[in-house]
């Protein structure tokens, strides 16, 4: 097995010596963890095995096609069935496969051992954003794609990290074992960062486990890998790996922000204040389905602008946002948005696009509803 990896490393170095550009433009990235390097090694071994078999098989084939053409006067020699040859060409592939299965099994076992982690992060997939929860640290936030829609539409020049940039990346310390717990709030997503060789489906009702230990500080980009609806192509994953001290400072800062946020629940909010905040929440969370002008995409995503059923019934409106609509694509937001954000959002929706109800929903009321 050790030999296999040495061989892989040798072949890998061969590969990088003649590749035209940076390896990951053409090939699987080597990545920044021991697991990702092992996976790359397996990939290169099996690749070269295929190349060698291919050269032999196609070599014989094209030789035959060239040598035994009728136009060159070839005459068919009738022979068939040769037990020895048939046993040999069944046994040799079998032996190659066994040799291949041994290192693959070792790597897989390693990938499945998520025990003794230093940090646990719960990753929740939402249509179409990721939520990261640093378990036991009281820090949780959403990570939305930050590429402007203008760049996608082509009215603005595309940036360097087009479609692979987010407002808030997942921040992790290097050289620590991070256990990643993936789940979903709606449909199945898949959390994937090629440089970490981690891809795990985020499935509603399940919590999947994987882990990584990043060895180099840096920014690593990936994407949702499982078709999850309309904006599946627009929910990138960005991991920012940093040294422990920086990470600690970052975590402390996030905790302070969270504490400050919690304080906002108790006070009385003005209508304008709520609308202003709600507009931002709407743009990041709701606009992908209900659209920027609240026109929706009927019949799947109903319009909010001029939606009399909701505007005439404040309690129903709150209920829909807090608890979702069972059996539809409308998720319950009580677990994912703060009471302040929910109050602001509902207030915004009731005062935008001609919905002039003048209602101001107070965060304290939502708080009372969510955790009575």
């Amino acid at each position: 097995m050790r030999k296999m990896f040495t061989l892989a490393a040798l072949l890998a170095s061969l590969d990088s010596s003649y590749s035209i550009s940076h390896a990951s433009d053409w090939n699987m990235p080597v990545g920044v963890s021991q697991v990702s390097r092992d996976v790359y090694g397996l990939h290169m071994i099996i690749f070269w095995i295929c190349v060698v078999i291919g050269l032999i098989v196609f070599g014989v084939m094209f030789y035959s096609l060239y040598r035994y053409r009728r136009s060159k006067g070839a005459k068919a020699v009738q022979f068939h069935e040769h037990t020895t040859i048939e046993i040999v060409w069944t046994a040799i592939p079998f032996l190659i496969l066994i040799a291949m299965a041994i290192p693959a099994t070792a790597t897989l076992k390693d990938m499945y051992d998520a025990s003794e982690s230093d940090y646990d992060v719960m990753i929740t997939g939402h249509q179409w954003r990721w939520q990261y929860d640093y378990m036991g640290e009281d820090v949780t936030f959403f990570s939305n794609m930050s590429t402007p829609r203008e760049q996608i539409a082509g009215t603005e020049e595309k940036g360097e990290h087009y479609l692979l940039e987010v407002d808030q990346p997942l921040v992790l310390p290097v050289d620590r074992k991070i256990r990643l717990l993936t789940t979903s709030a709606d449909v199945i997503h898949s959390w994937w960062v090629p440089d970490l060789a981690v891809k795990k489906d985020a499935i509603p009702g399940f919590v999947n486990e994987s882990w990584t230990r990043i060895e180099e500080p840096g920014i690593y980009r990936g994407q949702c890998a499982e078709l999850c609806g309309k904006d599946h192509g627009f929910m990138p994953v960005v991991v920012h790996a940093m040294e422990q001290e920086q990470f600690d400072a970052w975590l402390a800062e996030r905790k302070q922000e969270a504490a400050a946020e919690a304080g906002g629940v108790d006070r009385e909010w003005a209508l304008e204040e709520l609308v202003e905040r709600g507009e931002k929440v709407y743009a990041t969370i709701c606009a992908s389905c209900h659209q920027a002008e609240g026109q929706g995409m009927p019949p799947t995503f109903p319009a909010l602008a001029g939606n009399q059923t909701l505007m005439d019934d404040l309690d129903r409106h709150i209920d829909v946002v807090v608890n979702g609509v069972s059996g539809s694509a409308m998720a319950a937001f009580s677990g994912t948005l703060s009471p302040v954000d929910i109050a602001a959002l509902i207030t915004f929706e009731r005062n935008a696009w001609g919905n002039d109800t003048g209602d101001a929903v107070q965060p304290a009321d939502i708080q009372a509803l969510v955790s009575p």
Binding site: S24, D25, W26, P29, D38, V39, L42, H43, I46, C50, G54, V57, F58, M61, S64, L65, Y68, R69, R70, S71, A74, A76, V77, Q78, H80, E81, W89, P93, L97, M100, A101, A104, T105, L108, Q151, I152, K158, E160, Y162, T182, V187, I188, S190, K200, D201, I203, P204, G205, F206, N208, A225, L227, G229, D231, H232, G233, F234, P299, T300, G327
Partner: protein, 547 residues
């Protein structure tokens, strides 16, 4: 395999017994004319033609959808379509190509050729045959009509994973389920018919191990169909209940299990992909010996390899689910069984190549397609072997590497084999040879187009491009542009294919009964074009030495 030189006496016997030309004439006068004739026909050749025409039409419609996809992916950014419509196109493209183009294509070939290759007068159950065909146009009209319904058509991928395809699906999903049920019933009935024909209507003296490999592979495929289509029917019925009757089979919030959907789907889905390749193995195993003028190297080992692949196909389904979080033991089990498939598949490839070795090879169009099949299918097999390695699959899974893999086995694999079969049997069907020069153009344009289309996808996938996305990061731009150019080249080359077929039906160089010099199977003993009724009295092959 089948007779090296047709048993003369038998042939005359069958010809005279099937009636003189006059008798034929009298009989055929009873046929209706016009569309009703095609609606009511129970003749295996006419139904075979209907299947093939249907398959070709679906191939063009599914292909047009692929071109919309490639047009959008030509450049980064959204230019042509919006993501909702893009998802409908990827879904419909997959469904139509799998259930509308490839499967009916093979069933059409089976209808035409199985009775001719086993010396049967028709399929065993002719009326059932008519019904199983006519379900298809109805099913696919319904499926296509969902694109015009409010909320659009299916947009959850051809694998329709729940809950995206249930709770979060457009309202038209119920129609999609109904369409798929009909296509499934059609497949089951077709498979029953094929098994009944092969097991009951073989000419006297033809044992199972005397059959052509095309018949053999179809016999095995038909058993696969009967085994797995009901599983598909079950899983879509569970979806139907989840959507319309408040059950929670796949809804976690109601205590259901979204992963159960994937297990059921792939228990159908993996044998399904072999349903789309085993008949291709059969076709290539018939064509290569013909143009190498040499017996297939290992007839028996080909049969056993096909059967092994079919059995293994039931034991590998979860390799499509390596990333869903299976337990380690399950992951290892499915990795090992999947790797094992390489062994019988290798046996097949080695057999084809050994058949070429020391042959007397000519390169007519059917042979060109069959040879391209061997090379390009093998490339798809290699990437399949790579995908079997579970730790590496975490990187490959749901990327363009997978898209490249299954298109290599399906397009220059299954589709090329169907094209090879069409070129090979057109003389039997029409009485004319297809235009060799146009055929070569069609071949070379297709082979260049298909590689330009699918080869760069390997690189895009390895570099990190997920599948089923309408827009992509800038580092994938070059690969996608190349793929799109290849896609258009391949797509438009198929117009040439249609032209070759139309031209061949209308006229061309007359083909004799035995149209290819090296061809030895039973279908080449009947005149070209094959009369409406053949082998009304079975040819007597008792005592005939097949091998």
């Amino acid at each position: 395999m089948a007779p090296k030189s047709p048993p003369k006496a038998t042939l005359e016997h069958s010809q005279s017994a099937s009636g003189s030309a006059a008798a034929h004439h009298v009989e055929e006068r009873h046929y209706r004319s016009g569309p009703l004739r095609w609606l009511l026909t129970t003749n295996h050749k006419e139904i075979g033609s209907l299947y093939l025409i249907f398959s070709l039409s679906m191939f063009m419609i599914g292909g047009a959808m692929a071109l919309i996809i490639r047009l959008e992916l030509f450049q980064p950014g959204l230019q042509m379509v919006q993501p909702e419509f893009f998802n409908q196109m990827t879904t419909m493209h997959g469904l139509i190509m799998v259930f509308g183009a490839v499967m009916p294509g093979f069933v059409g070939l089976a209808n035409w050729m199985i009775p001719l290759q086993v010396g049967a007068p028709d399929m065993a159950l002719p009326r059932l045959n008519n019904f199983s065909f006519w379900l298809l146009p109805i099913a696919f009209t319904l499926l296509l009509s969902t694109l015009l319904m409010p909320g659009g058509g299916p947009n959850f991928g051809w694998t329709f994973y729940a809950p995206l395809s249930t709770t979060y699906a457009p309202p038209s999903t119920t129609f999609f389920i109904f369409a798929l049920h009909m296509a499934g019933i059609s497949s089951i009935l077709g498979a029953i018919n094929i098994i009944a024909t092969i097991l009951n209507l073989r000419a006297p003296g033809m044992r199972l191990m005397d059959m052509t490999l095309f018949v053999w592979t179809w016999l095995i495929t038909a058993f696969l169909l009967i085994a797995v289509m009901p599983v598909l029917a079950g899983v879509i019925t569970m979806m139907l209940l989840d959507i319309n009757f408040g059950t929670s089979f796949f809804n976690a919030a109601g205590g259901g299990d979204p992963v159960l959907f994937q297990h059921l789907f792939w228990f159908f889905g993996h044998p399904e992909v072999y349903i789309m390749i085993l008949p291709a193995f059969g076709i290539v195993s018939v064509i290569i010996p013909t143009f190498a003028r040499k017996r297939l190297f290992g007839y028996a080992s080909m049969v056993y390899a096909t059967a092994s692949i079919a059995i293994l196909s039931f034991l590998v389904w979860a390799h499509h689910m390596f990333a869903v979080g299976l337990p380690l033991v399950a992951e290892l089990f499915f990795m090992y069984t999947t790797m094992l498939i390489a062994v019988p598949t290798g046996v097949k490839v080695f057999n084809w190549i050994t058949t070429l070795f020391r042959g007397e090879i000519t390169f007519e169009t059917p042979m060109l397609f069959a040879l391209a099949f061997v090379v390009l299918f093998t490339i798809g097999g290699f990437s399949g072997l790579m995908l079997a390695i579970a730790p590496a699959d975490f990187q490959y899974h749901d990327t363009y590497f997978v898209v490249a893999h299954f298109h290599y086995v399906l397009v220059p694999g299954a589709v090329f084999s169907i094209m090879a079969a069409v070129y090979y049997w057109l003389p039997k069907w029409t009485g004319h040879y297809p235009d060799e020069r146009l055929g070569r153009w069609h071949f070379w344009l297709s082979v260049i187009g298909v590689n330009l289309l699918f080869f760069p996808m390997h690189f895009a996938g390895l570099a990190g491009m997920p599948r089923r996305i309408p827009d992509y990061a800038l580092q994938f731009a070059d690969f996608n542009m190349a793929s799109s150019i290849g896609g258009f080249l391949f797509g438009f080359s198929q117009l040439l294919f249609i032209w070759v077929i139309v031209k061949c039906v209308r006229g061309g160089v007359k083909a004799p009964a035995s149209a290819w010099e090296g061809a030895t199977d039973l279908e080449w003993t009947v005149p070209s074009p094959a009369p409406l009724h053949t082998f009304e009295t079975p040819p007597d092959l008792r005592g005939f030495k097949f091998h």
